[in-house]
Amino acid sequence: MGELFLEVRSEEIPARMLRPAIREAGTRLFEELLARGLTPGEVATGFTPRRLVLTLNGIPARESDREEESIGPPASVGFDDDGKPTAAARGFAKKCGVEPDDLRVVTTPKGDYLATTVKTEGRSAEKVLSDLIPRILGDLSWAKSMRWGTAEGPWVRPVHGLVVLYEGKVVPCDLFGVPAGDRTTGHPVHSPDSFAIKNNADYRRQMAERGIEVRFDERRARLLEGMKQASAELEGELVDDPELLDKLASICGIPGVVMGSFDPKYLDLPREVLTASLRDHQSALTVESAGKLLPCFLTVMDRQDDPKGRVQAGNEWVVEARLDDGRFFYGEDRKKPLSDRREALSHLVFHVQLGTYADKAERIIKLTESLCEVLGWDEKLAAAQEAAGLLKVDLTTEMVKEFTSLQGVMGGVYAREDGHPEEVWQAIYDQYQPVSADDSIPRTRAGMATAIADRVDTLVGMFGLGLVPSGSRDPFGLRRAAQGLVRIVLEADLPLDLDLVAALAARLYGERIEKGGEEILITLRPFLHDRIRHLAGLQGYAYDTIEAGLAAGSSNLPDLFARIDAIHQVREEPAFLSVALAAKRIANIVKDSPEYEVALQLLREPAERDLHEAAESHRTIVREAEAAGEYERCLRQIADLAEVLDKFFVEVLVMDENPDLKKNRIALLQSIQRMISRTARLTEVVVDKSEHRERSATQQ
């Protein structure tokens, strides 16, 4: 058992690629060792911009030995007339390292052949590692790779050093001509001299002496701690930004904190502008006190201290320049109110075929009106339409051109300053919400209506032109738009028929798109279903439960989710599973058959009469429950048929010789199928038969 310690040093690797790379390297190395019987114990990873670090402990010293059967020439040419091995047989034996006497004859589908068992001794861990490591490291899948020098590579950046130690000894190998050794270096400026290392613990200790922390989580925690401490010194609190903190912890090896301040006059700028300018341009976090920003910022420096104050002075200089720019843009934008900029939208192209943003605004206003009508939000109509008209105007402002991350937000801020009602400016402000999984949906009804209208308009327009995202290609962000749409409708529990809304949106495009609403839905519906699958999966519903709900064909999302949840509630119950099994059987039997009517006089067997009666007595309740949206009750009623269904299949032969009886039994099953298909398509539910039998047995 031994520890493998691995470090690759290179020029600065882009922050966004570090974590995926080290994860891939760790996983692949672990799996390849596992496949060779060299199962490691724990895997520990680390990285800084200039190094990837991997430690796997508990690796056995040797691969397991292998025995394999090796097949040689046909038996017919293996022995001469005297039964002695021929030259062919002797050659095969020699190749396998055995005596001709050790050969035997095996029978294969192609005939009889000579064969022998070849023993391969497992290689040493060192040998395996020296083969594996350059291959795995060289093959890492980078988002963007490059060549350097005389076209070496490709890799993410030029490679400068490699340390590979197994049980403290160098494993001979190389990466792009850089040989493995036992020496590394510290920070390129503060501790550039090389030093020898023995193992992971020694490495970590010597790195720590140089202020370098290679474990990402630890580095991030120290950075956060340092920033909280600095905020406390400023008598404020850090405004947390986990995403930015991830980035900052990725662009340093030494988690030093720079604290800087700026002229308080910039606090006159809207908070959103200050935060965006500091975040987007300077990767800096803000500090607040009693809900108000302080004229300070915090960011990272790849060093422990700032002895001459140069780092702080430099960062402050840049921040002031940026804020000055921000103030200039803000001043330009505020020369006229947002509503006076509306005209500029007619010069801003949304899509060549779908028209300008002015055209889009017109459509959103109309679609918002329909939505408010359907939802009974008459009192919100005026605010929603006012917001819809101003929704995209901020795209023409200097501030949004400079900080695209502020789109929507900036329009909301300007609308607020222009004195538009709260419902209106919040609708504009929230229009792109939710972006990430943690985001909430728009705060107000006007906000929801306009956000839905905007997204449906985009989706229908793009799908109407056949611009359907495929693979990783989604230039118009349609997945995000669809995801946001589904979440708003679901989380606000809006009884909207999306098919209907899409058809309305398609009509508003008039002749700009040739396809009609129904035609667009052929591709748009499955696209939305994928988003629904994703969201339902995140909520913990099993995939077959989701499919069964989706197949019921409801385009009203809260209704659809109520169906999915009802299946989820009953799906472990034996009676329900039994009906689900029966549903599959019925589907198979009736699948190619035309629709028939049940004739009572032809119900001969007691079991089929019982089934018919049970179905008749349950039908009304099933219908009522479904109409009332009480899907769980509906499914329980359906599950109630389990016993009579079971009995029917045991005692009655559907494919009777008498064609009339056969037809009638098919008709009976068709009526059952119609009934049990209410709420959800049960055939989608996966039932493990043995498990089901076991479960029903224990319950009986």
């Binding site: 060549r147 060093r303 921040v319 192209v349």
Partner: protein, 299 residues
């Protein structure tokens, strides 16, 4: 002692890279958008011949012109451009030493390399690299060229582009580019360049004759093609450069629509790509004079 003035910065960087075996070239005598467009970069990075060069290139960005009123933005700024082909293994170390040569004591600063890839669609060129941040300020673009004129490069060149005004401003923590010393305790940047910024801003945004610019664009494009047909790659490339600058002026004048923009960029790109291909062929015909061993044959 740190560099105290704009010109001292230029002198020290020229000295440093001269010591590293670079040809100290002069700015190209045409309007360029960036040092990359200088034939000693754009064409020399093609093909197998080694090359080391450093030069200052005034870079014109008509759209960034601000009538001399913005303390940070200029319609023309100066870049110090260095090309090392093939990129040496120690290129980052060399770069750090060049900063030290400017008197920047790295021991008291924070220097980081943040991902920033470079792409120039009009040149069919892209590369991979960083923006170099000194105490949070971008002072250099550092790029490993991967493709130029649509051709894969081998060997690979490292390009180091210093923003000279920015570095000078930063060293003195000046509040305005116009206040930096061009000569230490002597002539200021504004005294040398302010009138230039004011007049060219007015020209780019208000005065430039759109029809005349379009005619020149068409004419230079025709001339570039004629030169290429005659096998004259360097004159052809000059014409392509003129087209590129004329496009920038037309754009800043607000005379280019969205669709026309795409078409004009494509026309410039086609010229640049044709020049790159022709240049590679011309160097092959000459027997790659810079590969060494053979004397340059004077045709």
């Amino acid at each position: 002692m740190g560099a105290q003035s704009f010109q001292e910065l230029i002198l020290r960087l020229s000295d440093f890279w001269s010591e590293e075996g670079c040809v100290i070239q002069q700015p190209y005598d045409l309007e360029l958008g960036a040092g990359t467009m200088h034939p000693d970069t754009f064409l020399r990075v093609l093909g197998p011949e080694p090359w080391r060069v450093a030069y200052v290139q005034p870079s014109r960005r008509p759209a960034d012109a601000r009538y001399g009123e913005n303390p940070f933005r200029l319609g023309k700024h100066y870049q110090m451009q260095v090309i090392l082909k093939p990129s040496p293994k120690e290129v980052q170390d060399l770069y750090l030493r060049s900063l030290e040569a400017l008197g920047i004591d790295l021991a008291v600063h924070d220097l980081r390399f943040e991902e920033d890839n470079w792409e120039a669609p009009t040149l069919g060129a892209w590369g991979v690299g960083w923006q170099v941040m000194l105490d949070g300020m971008e002072i250099t673009q550092f790029t490993y060229f991967q493709q130029c004129g649509g051709l894969d490069l081998e060997p690979i060149s490292a390009e180091i582009t210093y923003g000279l005004e920015r570095i000078t401003m930063f060293l003195g923590l000046s509040r305005s580019v116009y206040e930096i010393d061009w000569v230490a305790d002597g002539v200021e940047y504004g005294q040398v360049r302010h009138q230039d910024e004011v007049e060219f801003s007015k020209y780019y945004f208000e005065i430039a004759d759109v029809e005349f610019l379009r005619q020149r664009f068409d004419g230079h494009e025709r001339e570039a093609k004629r030169c290429l047909e005659a096998g004259l790659v360097l004159p052809a490339y000059e014409c392509a450069l003129k087209c590129s600058h004329l496009f920038n002026v037309l754009d800043s004048r607000g005379a280019v629509s969205v669709t026309e923009r795409v078409a004009l960029i494509k026309r410039v790109r086609n010229l640049a790509v044709a020049c790159a291909q022709e240049y590679v062929a011309s160097r092959e015909r000459l027997g790659y004079p810079l590969l060494g061993g053979e004397a340059v044959v004077d045709g």
